[in-house]
Amino acid sequence: MKVGPFTSLVLVKKRDLIYHIFLIWISIIPVALEYWVYWQLLWDYERPLHFYIFLPLLGFVMYLTAVFTAMVFAKIILIFVNFIHKPKEGVFLRDPSDKDYRYWGLRNVIKQWPFWLTHRFPFPFLDNLAFKLFGVKTKFSNSLFEGWVDTEFMEFGKNVVIGQGSIIQSTIIVGNLLIIRKTTFDDNVRIGSHCLVMPGSHIGKNCILNSWSATVVGQVLEDGWIYLGGPAQKFKKNVFFEEDIKDKIKLRVDNLEELSQTYDSQYDKWNRKKIKKEKKEEEKRRIMQGL
């Protein structure tokens, strides 16, 4: 699965390649240097044992060096870019002539290589570090590894878990517009698998989002509820943070049909409205005919 921190490459130009090449080059130089120093220190034709024993460890250190150098230099470029044009929220024109759109694309291009590198590690630790370094407020206890998470204008509390294959956005392109709005997550939020969180959403404390749910732009989810549906609606209160309810928790579905109806009403809101409208019109027609 190709998942990871999401850096959009909508506005890629050939000249942006220069940032990639620069960052890749600059992050490999210290790696090569490290290897050279290691070679000088430990290589011995007579006794090559030391060299080969510590080589795997060096490989690990070399990977970390590449990650950190890429992050530091990307951060430096980013500071310059942000100094020229400060990133801000709002609705912008999706056109290269729009400065905000241009710089948004540029920021994503710069972040691409370090985030790609950090995501090669099978554990969320380095991803969180990169998020932190690039100005996203997050904690090391968060698990943002299995979904596509935007890398700017995000804010996370602690113990946030993003489910497999979820898409967490703070920017979206709609037609000819680029919308950037800050998405915030409070503590202990759990996002299910295959969810879609749109820009400007606020997910309250202790919220649970069911699998296959979606929020609309700027939706606010209240603290301590379980939400489901598209757009997400309240399903029931999240009581699972109470103490000593281990025996009360039940893993069963009593009445699947009733549950299916509840789910249908939550998932198919727009369709239901349409059906209601049609029914009302039909009634009107009948009344008119009867008269």
């Binding site: 090559p48 460890l57 554990f123 759990r190 029931k236």
Partner: protein, 311 residues
Amino acid sequence: MKMTENHETEKIQGKNDKNNSSDANYIIDFTTSSAISRVSIKFLALYIPILWLSGLAISIYLYEYFIRLNFVKLERWIPAILYLPIALICMYFLFIFTALFFSKLFLILINLIHRPREGIFKAQMGDPDFEFWALRIEIKKLVVWLMRNCPFPWMDFIAFKWFGVDIDSSSHLQDSWTDIEFIKFGRRVMVGQAAVVMTSMVVGNYLIIKKVIFNDYALVGGVTAIAPGTVFGADTVLGAASITMPNQVLEPGWIYAGIPARKFRPNTVERRDIIAQVDVDEGTKYDSEHEVNIDKDKQDLLKTKNNSKGE
């Protein structure tokens, strides 16, 4: 509770208030995710020995390879370069399989200290079940991640088998997120792309671990979410973009679809020359002819195990 202006949501809230009679609240009839729930940096200490030990295997290989390479003579260089691709592939697999071996060793040790078991546990640091669950996942993740990033499709099931999952090579789960414990696979199970098979789920302060069972010929559609405790009968098909509820039992020989998964129609195979199509916009059905390219002497192969019994 803040009442919103929206009439629709008010209705649903009212409905939920009725349901909120203590008992119904504690039933888990929703599905979230089974991603790593708490990231602890101290677990990282396990990766370094595993990476080091499996790196040592490569080191030995590299040493052997270079010791045979005479840097002076040209005719020694040519075979060395010719064999280099094979050597690289060998090193790659050597790394993966040594990592698998040492992960398994660690896993055996950890399982001796604390036996993995199903049930509902407290999801807090300090609870042994939760901590060992996180540790197990973390150890398995490295190897499974290595195998997932390998372009050979049959690699996954080797790791699954080594980590004690009941599976054989006829099942296919390459492109899905599948938890690596408490799963049982029958023959020829296919798990679709981006499907999430969860055997563990953290809900609030509680960790739920329950076994998922796939019987023979079960077929899971793409982008589905399978909750802990789901049982797939033989020949069951789950449509794409569906969710199963915890402890849901899908009956054998049915096609299920929807959120939550419900019976769609029986999964019977019959010879049909005319296939119905639905025009979605108009809401009408019409027939369209398809050529059925199955030879007459091979018709009986269509019948699967379940159908031949006549269930």
